[in-house]
Every structure is written in C-alpha cells, then in structure tokens.
Symmetry: C2
Subunit: 97 residues, 2 copies
C-alpha cells in the first residue's frame, strides 16, 4: 500500500528533482517539456508510457506538437507518494536522452 508523503518527505524528494513545480489548486506536481519536433515529443511520451505502465502509476499529461505538459499525483492517497517521485525521476531521465 502506497503512503502519502509527509511535508518534510515531500520537500526532500522534490529537492532531488529539477524543474517540478507544486500545482496551485491540486496536491500534485507538474513540469513542461519542449522538444524539437512532434516525433521527439511523442517518442519521449512512448518511453514514459512504458515506465508508467511498469510502475502501474500513470501521469496526467497533454501534448501540443513539440510540447508535453505532465502532472503527477497519487489518487489513492489524495496527494504525492513515492510513486510520483519514481516516475518523475524516470521522466527526467527520458527527457534528457
């Protein structure tokens, strides 16, 4: 069973990531990514999709041409969990390939 991160756990986890922002009206974090083309943007999404399915933890995301906006939250705990941090870390790694 996944647990909601406490305030200090959340801060400490966020400090280890780059560019992820707290979302104003939801207990969630988000980040925007820009690529050179749709092919690169969707290639990135495809790699992230595989990680998400493997973790059984999925992003809320949107794509417009070369841009991908991603929001992470854990519905089961109504906030952030370790799963969000794991997925964020995978996402950042895939974005920087």
């Amino acid at each position: 069973m996944v647990k909601k991160l406490t305030g200090p756990e959340r801060q400490s986890a966020l400090d280890q990531l780059t560019g992820w922002q707290n979302v104003e009206d939801r207990d969630a974090i988000s980040k925007s990514f820009k690529f050179r083309s749709f092919i690169e943007a969707f290639g990135f999404m495809s790699r992230v999709a595989l990680h998400a399915e493997k973790l059984n933890h999925h992003p809320e995301w949107s794509n417009v041409y070369n841009r991908v906006d991603i929001l992470l939250t854990t519905h089961d705990v109504d906030g952030l969990s370790e799963l969000d941090m794991q997925l964020a870390s995978k996402i950042d790694r895939e974005a920087s390939r």
Copy 2:
C-alpha cells in the same frame, strides 16, 4: 496551401463524423475517448500519432489513464480545414479497432 472550411463545408464535413463537438471558446472540434486500460489508450494514441505525423497535422490532446481527449484545429487558417476532417476520420477508425 490548406484552406479554411466555410460554414456549409464545415457543417457538411461534421455531418459525416460521429461524436465530434464544436469547442465553445475556440474554432475547433473535440471528442473524448474511453478505453479499458492505459495500454489500450496509449496504443490508440500511438496509432493516431503515426497518422498525424504522416498528415503533418497534429492534435492537441490529453490523457488520464484510460481516457483520451482530443481537440483538432488548423492554426494556419485559424479554424477548421480539410486536414482536421481527415485526421478526425483516421482517429475514429483507430478508436473503433
């Protein structure tokens, strides 16, 4: 050069599609799709992505788990064009596989 559909052309084209709605605050059409799983939703998106790249016409879309929301518009004509109708038709075909 792609042309903006006139009112009657647009209506006639929309009449040939099912479930696409005019978007309230933009000159665009949208439709929501629901699948049985993330795998099915993202599989659908992957097929649509290939069509989009081939047509060189891309959707604005978002995904949350098994749901995919798609908006189509043609920025170059500030409205709908034949490209939106072609892509909408491909999308519907892929959704019904």
